[in-house]
């Protein structure tokens, strides 16, 4: 557990004094990052997120207040020792350009005196664990893409198996597709490792996706709200948080509601190569096409098929919801489907049936009513 108690950081103003009214980056922050959970610090640029994070490993010294890790005041520890016990991941990875990926990852274990061979074999494991090809171990950072560098950064931070991790916008310098991949793998990794993580981002979507709890900071370093992502979306404490959380938060909050058991409609399907007559025989204007393993491929407009169903005539705008997914995914599948029937697949990706938006809405309403009675609120927020 990382605990901030009345922590303030005032940067020296032009006159060079920290006292007086220098600019306050973090203002009387009291916060707990629970053991084994991800606590996300989020807020607009310049609100003191990085300062807060860097005070934990004493890259920045607080002006006042105490920060403790598992009850031990960080100020009382040897600074190098403290840092070696904390995984640290930063935005541009900060890999050492003159070292191979493998030697980057072994950095902290080597500082701690682990022998080279042990450090390397553990590093190889980690390199694979963060989703890199083992062959990359011999490469230099300059030979990696941004996303790969970030993975190495995470592996390097994990190398000495620290209980605590500090991550400062680790995924914000990569493109959205890679970012999503990295986020998903990060969550998967965390579910195995259960580290105590303090994670900084300016992206509220990332915050609600990754955080077990989210701390919203406002400029001047004041904690505005600390809550679970679902509560944050459902119940912002003030206009600032509401504005920061953004529009369509009602819709986004559905991400945290597991899809309930709903009765799905059976959907007649055709396969690739089906003739125009087969398609029209179904009798609906849009017909669902599935692959050999029963996986949904896309909708076909019956009137548009000339001779047979080919991949080029497939409409790909519709999203596919999973039975194990969220209400948001379910509703989105219905809304994005050209036929109005949302495609639902099982965990293995095989078509289970379809559902209309009008059938999802009652489930949402039912959930709202359930959330009003406190006993089941817990369940509703399960990720």
């Amino acid at each position: 557990m990382i605990r901030f108690e009345g922590v303030t950081k005032r940067y020296a103003d032009a006159s060079g004094t920290e006292s007086g009214d220098g600019s306050v980056a973090v203002d009387d922050l009291t916060l707990e990052a629970p053991t084994g959970k991800i606590t996300v610090l989020v807020g607009p640029s310049g609100c003191g997120k990085t300062t807060t994070l860097r005070m934990v490993n004493r890259m920045i010294t607080p002006t006042s207040g105490t920060i403790s890790i598992d009850g031990r005041d960080t100020a009382s520890l040897d600074v190098a020792e403290l840092r070696r016990g904390i995984g640290y991941v930063i935005q541009h990875a900060g890999l050492f350009p003159h070292r191979t990926v493998l030697d980057n990852v072994t950095t902290v274990p080597r500082l701690l005196g682990t022998d080279k061979r042990t450090a390397r074999s553990r590093a190889m494991e980690l390199i694979e664990r963060v989703g890199l090809d083992p062959a990359m171990a011999r490469r230099y950072p300059a030979q990696l893409s941004g996303g790969q560098q970030q993975r190495v950064g995470v592996a390097r931070a994990l190398a000495a198996d620290p209980p605590v991790m500090l991550m400062d916008e680790p995924f914000s310098a990569v493109d959205p597709v890679v970012r999503e991949q990295l986020q998903n793998e990060f969550l998967r990794l965390q579910s195995d490792l259960g580290k105590t993580i303090l994670f900084v981002t300016h992206d509220i979507d990332e915050a609600v996706k990754l955080g077990d709890q989210v701390a919203v900071l406002r400029v001047g370093g004041v904690l505005a709200q600390l809550d679970s992502p679902a509560t944050l979306l459902a119940d912002p404490v003030d206009d600032f948080v509401a504005g920061f959380v953004g529009r369509d938060r009602g819709y986004r909050a559905l991400s945290f509601a597991a899809a309930p058991e709903l009765s799905l409609a059976d959907e007649p399907t055709v396969s690739l190569g089906a003739s125009a007559d087969d398609v029209r025989a179904v009798g609906t204007p849009w017909v669902l096409c599935v692959g050999d393993a029963g996986e949904p491929l896309g909708w076909v407009r019956a009137a548009a098929v000339e001779s047979e169903v080919t991949r080029t005539v497939l409409h790909r705008g519709g999203t596919v919801a999973s039975t194990t997914g969220s209400l948001r995914a379910l509703l989105d599948a219905a809304l994005s489907s050209p036929s109005g029937r949302g495609v639902v697949a099982d965990a293995d990706g095989r078509l289970v049936g379809t559902i209309r938006a009008a059938e999802v809405i009652p489930a949402i309403e039912a959930r709202r009513d359930a959330a009003a009675s406190p006993t089941s609120a817990e369940e509703a927020t399960a990720r």
Partner: protein, 285 residues
């Protein structure tokens, strides 16, 4: 015919023997050069490293560069006149000569060291400290290896200048290859002068070649490959249809050693980068 004379000078056994022979003069020249570089390195490297590491007193680097404008020969006579009466023996000439040469060698070494350390990516430095490296470990394990290419360019530049300028030692009655120039001028033996110049140039080329070889061996391919990376990322950005980032064995990377070849040509004047170095907003808390 003149070429024949030069050939004749070089093949005359008399020019290869004794205190005035080529081997002895080359040895003297190398001695002055080596001594100069040693002293200059001892002064410039710790200083440059400290300025680069701490970000303090950057004006030292700028100041040292400005000192290059001082005319070498004038300075040599001035120092000789000042030191000469104080010391008996040959040292009265050796000390002024070496002093002047050291002053010449310091700016490129100082700039190279400083610019090298200063060019280390702030993120790498930050990560190094954040992972629990001590200041000394950051310097030796991260900053120094990353600074190597620029430092070595500085060293090459200093070596070339010192070899070329060490000829002035002869003007205060010391040895070295400068003797051929001074004596040749005095006795109007132009062949000897030309041959002396050729020897200086050859020595400079050989020294530079050896240092280039050292650079290739000592600099991590991960750093010297930087040039290829910039080129590639530009190419990638200009191609809108390129794959965003698929992981796994994807990129066809050039052999790192080949990259080293591309990157090692950076012997250009380091001084420019160093003197214009604006105080960057680096967090050094």
């Amino acid at each position: 015919m003149s070429l024949a004379k030069i050939f004749g000078w070089f093949t005359d056994p008399a020019n290869w023997q004794g205190a005035d022979g080529v081997p002895h003069r080359v040895l003297e020249h190398l001695l002055y050069t080596g001594l100069t570089l040693l002293v200059a390195l001892v002064v410039a490297v710790p200083l440059g490293a400290w300025v680069g590491h701490s970000g303090r007193l950057r004006w030292l680097v700028t100041g040292a560069n400005a000192a290059r404008a001082v005319p070498t020969l004038g300075l040599l006579f001035a120092v000789s006149m000042f030191v000469g009466p104080l010391i008996q023996s040959d040292l009265a000439f050796v000390i002024p000569s070496i002093t002047v040469l050291v002053l010449l060698a310091i700016p490129p070494l100082l700039s190279g060291t400083y610019a090298g350390i200063d060019s280390v990516e702030p993120a790498a430095r930050d990560a190094a400290r954040g992972m629990g490296m001590t200041g000394w470990q950051v310097l030796t394990k991260v900053e120094a290896p990353c600074a190597l290419p620029l430092f070595l360019s500085g060293l090459r530049s200093a070596t070339l200048q010192v070899i070329a300028t060490a000829t002035i030692a002869a003007s205060v009655s010391l040895g070295g290859l400068g003797r051929y120039l001074i004596d040749g001028l005095a006795s109007r033996d132009y062949v000897q002068m030309v041959c002396g110049s050729i020897l200086v140039a050859a020595l400079a080329l050989v020294a530079d070649g050896l240092l280039a070889l050292l650079e290739k061996r000592a600099v991590s391919p991960g750093i010297s490959g930087r040039a290829t990376r910039v080129a590639r990322s530009r190419a990638r950005n200009s191609d809108p249809h390129s794959e965003p980032d698929s992981d796994g064995a994807d990129r066809s990377d050039p052999d790192p050693r080949q990259a080293a070849l591309v990157g090692s040509g950076t012997t250009g004047p380091v001084q420019a980068t160093a003197t214009t170095g604006t105080p960057s907003e680096r967090d050094r808390t």
